[in-house]
């Protein structure tokens, strides 16, 4: 029974893995961190899987667990992230294929600006980029819809300020 569940779970993760990659993309600063966070999200999803009853879509549930894991891990590792290695600093300008070399300077700059946001703000931006409604954003993060709108407006102002110092 457990074996069947596991197989089912692994298949679902394989299908929806881009979603986890995208969370990792916003919350990490190096390939190593990306891999670590991916693994951590997968483990947390597996632990939470018995509670997933199928009331919501698997992807919706993944957003919730994935973002929560990223936020928790981000908070835990704040100190660690502040002491970046040379490789990590070099990584700030996306270089690997998975981080798309073809992005123009403006896109690169805005990615960097988003990476400077706090963990909750990143989650709001992430769901916005995923084209989620404010209702979905509020449900996923656990804030009110009004709060989601207010936060998004603040984020936009913050980003404009950062991009045009």
């Amino acid at each position: 029974m457990k074996s069947t569940n596991e197989k089912e779970f692994v298949t679902l993760i394989e299908e929806h893995q881009n979603l986890i990659h995208k969370i990792c993309r916003l919350y990490t600063k190096s390939n190593t961190e990306h891999k670590d966070l991916f693994q951590e999200i997968t483990i947390q999803l597996w632990k939470a899987y018995p509670k997933f009853r199928g009331d919501s879509k698997f992807s919706t549930w993944m957003y919730r667990v994935g973002i929560n894991t990223a936020i928790t891990l981000y908070r835990k590792s704040k100190r660690r992230i502040q002491s970046l290695s040379f490789e990590d600093v070099a990584y700030k300008v996306p270089q690997s294929e998975s981080y798309d070399d073809t992005e123009d300077q403006q896109i690169k700059a805005i990615y960097q600006a988003i990476k400077q946001l706090n963990d909750i703000e990143k989650a709001v931006v992430f769901l916005y980029l995923e084209d989620k409604s404010y209702k979905e954003i509020s449900n996923t993060i656990g804030i009110t819809e009004v709060n989601a709108r207010v936060r998004m407006n603040r984020i936009k102002k913050k980003l404009i300020k950062q991009l045009n110092p």
Partner: protein, 215 residues
């Protein structure tokens, strides 16, 4: 904010991420196979320490001192040396299994390594049982030939012609002792390694389902 809209477009178009296979995802969930094999290696060392510790306690007891007086070192020392050499070989195998399982990158390879580890543990248990039986038989033969009380008793039975009964009793008592020690040792190994082997077997079954689907 136009930049954010552009980014949204780019975000949705740019989906170039490394594609992880089911096996790689499985490995994230199952660091446990390698950690189980590591535990087997560590446990074998602890077990070795445990038995060595016990042997220090029985070293000075009466029976051991009497046994030492028989001066049968030409039997006992090679037996001990062989025993330790084989144990060292098993520790090496356990360590090798752990190192190999940590660097496997295919379902089939991991399955094979799990089978190999289970086989190593089974051989280790078999060796320990066989070594115990050989030690008991050698110990018994030494006692029969050297213990003055036993030698006298043997002579008595021989003179009355009841030596078959005497040896019959000795054999039955030895078999009972062997059976009891076997049960004790198997019980011990079941507690120490059996549970880990069962978990490895479950991992193996899960891998089988993944392997069956990817074929």
């Amino acid at each position: 904010m136009d930049e954010l809209k552009r980014l949204k477009k780019d975000w949705q178009e740019n989906q170039k991420f490394p594609k992880l296979s089911q096996f790689e995802i499985y490995k994230f969930l199952h660091k446990k196979s390698s950690s189980l094999v590591k535990r087997i290696f560590v446990l074998s060392l602890i077990e070795f320490g445990f038995w060595t510790f016990i042997s220090f306690f029985i070293k000075d007891n009466e029976a051991q001192q009497r046994f030492d007086q028989y001066q049968m070192e030409h039997f006992t020392i090679p037996l001990i040396v062989i025993g330790y050499a084989v144990l060292l070989y098993f520790f090496f195998l356990f360590y090798k299994n752990y190192k190999s399982i940590s660097s496997i990158d295919s379902t089939k390879g991991l399955m094979q390594q799990i089978l190999k580890t289970r086989r190593t543990v089974k051989n280790y248990v078999i060796f320990n049982l066989v070594f115990l039986y050989i030690s008991i038989v050698i110990g018994l033969l030494i006692e029969l030939n050297n213990n003055p009380d036993v030698v006298m008793l043997t002579a008595e039975f021989n003179s009355t012609g009841d030596y078959l009964i005497f040896y019959g009793i000795i054999i039955i008592l030895t078999l009972i002792m062997m059976a009891l020690l076997t049960a004790l040792l198997l019980g011990f190994y079941f507690l120490v390694y059996g549970i880990l082997l069962k978990k490895l077997k479950n991992n193996y079954k899960e891998l089988q389902t993944i392997e069956a689907d990817t074929d």
